[in-house]
């Protein structure tokens, strides 16, 4: 064990963890919006809208995240026509390719989490609102959405943690995130165990924080409080 290497690589890896967190937070925000939109589309009674939303979540949940990143980064990069459009400004950058892949992936899972949360809301609660003469719109925004968010917290917490670990795939498209920098240090020191232990420790610490924040929120918004 090369303790000195572990100590000297720690600050470099910590800096890289900031990139990981940035990737995670940007894709979670975009993914949450996509997820909410598609969860609502899934509840739509129009069969085409419903199937479209289902197809999206089916494709992105049914293929590996790595494949999705490769298709967006290397695959779209091969289409010559695309390179002459304004889209290339975004797709040229590894960072945005990763964000697009992560957001679409987490959006698919989030839509499923939110959909099932909406569906677990007891009809009685909605009927209670209706009998008080509250409009359906207000019932949706003030009753259904808050309950759905509370219901989906545990599952969504898991999704955040899965996504956080998923961001390590950004290193495959040249982004110097936590895993990318760890690999870089290994490429010059040839000591993978030491470096990956430190990097793994940082990932574990981030999981610990996310886990506890979610637990706190769950308690705070618990129905029994």
């Amino acid at each position: 064990m090369d303790l000195e290497l572990m100590i000297t690589s720690f600050p470099k890896l910590l800096n890289a963890a900031a990139i990981t967190l940035k990737l995670l937070s940007v894709s979670l925000i975009i993914g949450l919006l996509i997820g909410l939109l598609f969860a609502i589309l899934r509840l739509n009674e129009n069969i085409f809208i419903n199937k479209f939303a289902y197809g999206y979540s089916y494709i992105f949940r049914g293929t590996p995240l790595l494949v999705q990143i490769f298709i967006i980064y290397f695959g779209l990069g091969q289409i010559e026509y695309l390179r002459s459009t304004f889209l290339w400004v975004i797709l040229k950058e590894p960072y945005w390719c990763a964000i697009i892949a992560f957001a679409l992936n987490t959006g698919a899972y989030t839509s499923e989490i939110l959909r099932s949360a909406f569906q677990t809301i007891k009809p009685g609660i909605i009927e209670a609102g209706q009998s008080l003469g509250i409009s359906n719109k207000i019932i949706f925004y003030k009753i259904q959405i808050p309950i759905a968010i509370r219901q989906s917290l545990p599952a969504y917490g898991n999704e955040i943690i899965l996504m956080m670990k998923g961001t390590s795939l950004a290193s495959t498209v040249t982004i110097m995130d936590l895993t990318g920098v760890a690999k870089y240090i290994i490429s010059t020191t040839f000591k993978p165990i030491e470096v990956f232990i430190v990097a793994g420790g940082i990932y574990l610490f981030m999981t610990f924080i996310i886990h506890n924040v979610i637990k706190f929120l769950e308690k705070k918004y618990s129905f029994n409080s």
Binding site: G77, Q78, R83, K92, P94, T174, Y184, S187
Partner: protein, 275 residues
Amino acid sequence: MNIFKKTIFSVLLSLLVIGSANADKIKIGTEGAYPPWNSKNEAGKLIGFEVELAYTLCRYIGQQCTIVEQDWDGMIPALIMRKFDAIMAGMSITAERQKAINFSQGYADEVASLAVMKGSSLEGLDTPAGINLTKPDGAAKKALKTLTAALAGKTVCVQTATIHQNFLDSGDVGKVNVRTYKTQDEVNLDLASGRCDAALAAAVAFSDYAEKSGKPVVLTGPTFSGGAFGNGVGVGIRKDDTELLNKFNKAIDKARKNGDISRIATKWFGFDASM
């Protein structure tokens, strides 16, 4: 708890058994993704200059060999952890790598070069045909200055953990935006897509790609050798394995004397890259 202990014990035991199997066979690790040095054919079989040379060297050593595949970025760690006994993967002999492993004498010369897409502003740089960085002379220093000016702010793509990455990181050509990839294939793809302004690798890796893909990839600037580019390509061997090192050195001597290395190099590179 008892089951837990038993599981740990059996896992460790199986690791020992796997580790000690095939002790009399020499296991050689290669990447299989760096043509024409080493690559795979359509059937998934390892082919290339080093695969053929490895079998030739093993014949001279008089021991059986198996060649196994290993991702480039884990090559040296895998050797140290005894996943195989020798590396033949277009790996140049550099001072940095010699801190971790030993190298046999060099068997071939890797000439590095920058490549760009035809029509790039980096095409046709005013530099000598080749520069040696071990003791750079006036012309070499001037060429580095020309490159520094030309590459300023440009994105140059390389495979990770290579001499090419080390050179760009060394600052000899100023502040370049270096992007690293897991394989040379990915470097080639992003050079062709325009994400990279230039790429740096073995000159033969680019000409091989240009030929196979039909993409207008052209070499530019000088070819590089010496300094960060090391002193030829050799067989990588664990520090404590001096016996195998001697065997390989003797085998390379014999293969060179009999003209085997020249013959195999000419077959795969189109010119004699042996040394």
